[in-house]
């Protein structure tokens, strides 16, 4: 299933990219026809499209995403390898924020339904959901870096450099997860088995975590896969605004450069990564919800 989806993505991406009118070297710069022909020959663009497709597939099987069209001698793999640490670091920290702050905030809000804690958390979370990440990032950059000089405006040399990108990146999903955790836990708290747990004389903490959160986590875990994907796409603008040399920045640059192999390579890399995340989420899901196993068996 995963492999099939990935294959479809690769195919779709490949043909989408090749559907762009004109070759990668015809646009923008005026090249002498013989140079263009030479370039086409060098990158195998003179071959029929199905041959290009097959060799691209072959490349992917050996984890080779081909050469960059814009930076001679640079391979897409190199670009990803170079950008990955930055993107992975900020992405991981953002994910950590989303989970480690979002879920507890949702719990606090749910347990204090309609009290000031709930109202405050939900007001902030609604703001977080409504304000686009790039707007949040820009405003934060202006206030904290330019006006108050609390953090550096760009770069990750200092730990403080991480604060704004991570905050801007996680803002939306932190709020989203907080809202989801709240509604999910509220729903679970109203379930009959929670009354049963109380009627059995269990400790409130046992009731909340063993019976409540375990069930409330199920819908939260399902969205964590897409959250990872969206943190990644979110990193496009965040890395641009904070001038971080991550994959997202390469991606946006490759778009404005019309560097098709890079666009294609990074897309496929992202898709593969997302597949992996979804797989992990599915496994986690099975651990949490025994009803799924039965469905798989039968």
């Amino acid at each position: 299933m995963m492999a099939l989806t990935l294959f479809l993505i690769i195919t779709l991406t490949f043909f989408l990219m090749h559907a762009i009118p004109g070759g990668p070297f015809t646009s923008e710069k005026m090249l002498a026809p013989e140079i263009e022909a030479a370039l086409n020959a060098k990158y195998g663009l003179d071959k029929p499209i199905w041959q290009q497709y097959l060799s691209y597939l072959q490349g992917i099987l050996t984890f080779d995403l081909g050469p960059s069209f814009k930076y001679p001698g640079v391979r897409v793999n190199d670009l990803i390898r170079e950008g990955l640490p930055v993107t992975a670091q900020t992405g991981f920290l953002a994910m950590l924020c989303v989970v480690a702050l979002g879920i507890p905030l949702g719990i606090v809000a749910a347990l204090n339904q309609n009290k000031w804690q709930d109202t405050t958390i939900m007001a902030v979370a609604t703001m977080g959901v409504a304000i686009p990440s790039y707007v949040l990032a820009t405003i934060a950059l202006y206030l904290f870096a330019l006006q108050w000089n609390l953090v550096p405006t760009f770069g990750l040399d200092d730990w403080r450099g991480y604060i704004l990108p991570v905050a801007a990146l996680s803002g939306f999903w932190l709020s989203f997860i907080a809202r989801l955790s709240r509604s999910s836990l509220l729903e679970v708290l109203g379930q009959d088995y929670m009354v049963t747990a109380r009627a059995k004389g269990l400790h409130p903490q046992t009731i909340l975590f063993k019976h409540g959160m375990r069930n409330a986590l199920i819908p939260i875990v399902t969205v964590l896969g897409p959250v990872v994907a969206n943190l990644l796409t979110g990193s496009f603008v965040i890395e641009q605004i904070f001038a971080l040399p991550g994959i997202g920045r390469h991606f946006v640059l490759s778009i404005s450069n019309r560097d098709y192999t890079t666009i294609m390579g990074i897309t496929i890399f992202y898709a593969a990564f997302l597949m992996l995340m979804i797989l992990i989420v599915d496994l986690l899901y099975m651990v949490l919800d025994p009803r799924i196993k039965l469905a798989e068996k039968s």
Partner: protein
């Protein structure tokens, strides 16, 4: 009666605070449960029967509050007890089973775990011992191949089996009182009977008392010793099952009895539904809550709440009914609507 009551509920009053005002779910309910007896509480949904029991155990939702009255369990005041002390009683001395075994069991934990955690919460035993106890209980409630079923999840059981699991869970600590809140309503008719007989059987074997909440008078007739008829958050009639069924002393009870089919009777009778719907508990009527639907309602019924009148009884249990027609001043012509109770002692 000689034995002291196990549970004595006195003037229990429970309100739910909502944005539209207070819902007066339970309005001054008093009753007691003696050791080893089965008390049936009957009433329509919304009559306050479940809320009464949840109030006793302090299991009300966050917006619910016991505003008046008391519940006394073996000399201990349950109302006003700290959550910690209440927890020690819940699941141990007083256990509860619920209507829908599908939703009342946690879907993400094995049934064994759900039993074991209850045992461990109340008894100083290891998990291994608790598991052994759980197995015993599964056998006690007659779950086939009990040992292998402990590690199953609730969704792997049928409805009847799930309710057996619930019962086993309630019995973990040999409770003195079991509150069964409509334990058979969500089940198939054939399964209903099995579960009911199992409860009766267990009650005899273990000597516990049971409060059986139901809207099904047939269930009460089958197993209960005493009956409490509730309407609009109040007790309408109470007495020995025999007395109440033979000579109901409240128009509501009469109505309930008329609205169930009697398979034993060969007469072609029409079932008579009770017209109207239960009162809005946000603004309960001043007088008798049943008056708006009562075929015999009088001016007096709308204006004042009738007290519980003691009625003659054939069985040695007090028979009481909340109806103005039992007042001394009530015209005899009207009193005749009730079948005269057969008095045991003349």
């Amino acid at each position: 009666m000689s034995s002291a009551p196990l549970l004595k509920v006195d003037n229990l009053t429970t309100h739910f605070h909502t944005s539209r005002g207070d819902v007066q779910a339970v309005r001054g309910v008093s009753f007691d449960v003696k050791p080893g007896e089965i008390l049936g509480i009957v009433g329509e949904s919304g009559s306050g029967k479940s809320i009464t029991c949840l109030s006793v155990l302090g299991l009300l939702k966050a917006n619910g509050e016991v505003v008046d009255g008391s519940a006394d369990f073996e000399g201990k005041q349950l109302t006003g007890l700290s959550d910690k002390d209440l927890r020690a009683i819940r699941g141990d001395d007083i256990a509860m089973i619920f209507q829908d075994p599908m939703t009342s069991l946690n879907p993400t934990l094995t049934v064994g775990e759900q039993l074991i955690e209850t045992i461990v919460a109340h008894k100083p035993v290891s998990r291994g011992e608790a598991r052994k106890r759980a197995l015993e209980l599964f056998e006690l409630v007659k779950i086939p191949s009990a040992a292998s079923r402990l590690d199953n999840y609730p969704h792997e059981f049928s409805g009847g089996m799930r309710q057996r699991v619930m019962i086993a869970m309630a019995l973990t600590c040999d409770p003195k009182l079991l509150i069964a809140d409509e334990p058979t309503t969500a089940l198939d008719v054939t399964i209903q009977r099995q579960i009911l007989l199992l409860l009766k059987d267990l009650q005899e074997k273990l000597g516990m008392a049971i409060i059986l909440i139901t809207h099904d008078l047939g269930v009460i007739a089958e197993v209960a010793d005493r009956i409490l008829v509730m309407y609009g958050g109040m007790v309408m009639e109470t007495g020995d099952v025999y007395d109440v069924f033979e000579s109901p002393q409240h128009p509501y009870t009469t109505g309930l009895l008329d609205s169930i089919p009697d398979v034993r009777s060969h007469k072609k009778e029409r079932l008579t539904p009770i017209p109207g719907s239960p009162p809005d508990m946000l603004r309960p009527p001043e007088g008798c809550p049943f008056a708006p639907r009562c075929p015999h309602a009088m001016q007096q019924c709308l204006e004042a709440m009738p007290p519980l009148f003691e009625r003659p009884n054939a069985k040695p249990t007090v028979h009481e009914a909340r109806c103005w027609l039992h007042h001394d001043d009530a015209p005899d012509s009207l009193k005749a609507i009730f079948k005269a109770p057969e008095a045991a002692n003349g």
